[in-house]
Symmetry: C2
Subunit: 113 residues, 2 copies
DNA sequence: TCGGTATATGCATTTTCCTGCATATAGTCT
DNA sequence: AGACTATATGCAGGAAAATGCATATACCGA
């Protein structure tokens, strides 16, 4: 019985069938990213971003690394990565954000991640 | 702006993130199938199956062909087919159902579709 | 230890989806 | 035309998801 297989797959697709989560995942596949970065890109309040990150984290498709005040997120599921490639095409370039002052957006190259 | 691309993709994943619809799609990629067949495989009431078929039809991922009393459904979207392959692996064999008397399940080979 | 910043959590409300059921339509056969 | 079968549609109650907001936690520097 691959009842289980269907169930897993539905779970995976549920994560992807949400505009904000899909865009978060698309950002993450371009490289490790901190929360404030996503906040800037998606233009949504921080608690909202964190909520969606939690959903993704609990589902096991992303992982995080804490460094000082910042938390850096990345994809941690190959299947997810393949689905993103299949549906959205190859990953684009990471955005560099003028208004964001976190290490990963730092204009100052020397402090870049 | 590929805002539109994200939106389309979310729609596509929404269709797939539902246990019954996912299984219907998995059946359809094994070959053309009538409603009573799906009813048997999924063990759900007929109006319910038809509702889900409508969702898929209106989204444009399946097409139908009417022949007498029967309506035969099939996949009509390559992208969908690729996502199914990616997520569920290669399509299995079509089921032949002992209790179903529609042309596509007919035990009597001569009447087979 | 205190103030400030980055991120997380809890909760409540709105909205959207799921699903069951009654009924409608369309085609076939006599 | 009337009975029967396969499929479609409409609607409603309940469940679950989405989202906004208040607040909590964790870490840093002074």
């Amino acid at each position: 019985m691959n009842e289980e297989r269907y169930h897993q797959t539905v779970q995976l697709f549920s994560l992807l069938s949400h505009p904000v989560r899909l865009r978060i995942l698309d950002e993450l596949r371009r490289g490790e990213t901190c929360v404030c970065h996503l906040q800037e890109v998606l233009r949504r309040p921080q608690p909202y971003i964190s909520q969606q990150l939690r959903v993704l984290r609990e589902a096991g498709v992303i992982a995080s690394r804490k460094q000082g005040l910042y938390v850096y997120y990345r994809l941690s599921d190959e299947r997810m990565e393949r689905m993103l490639e299949e549906s959205l095409g190859p990953a684009g370039e990471a955005h560099s954000l003028p208004h964001c002052s976190c290490p990963c957006c730092r204009n100052d190259e020397s402090l870049r991640l």
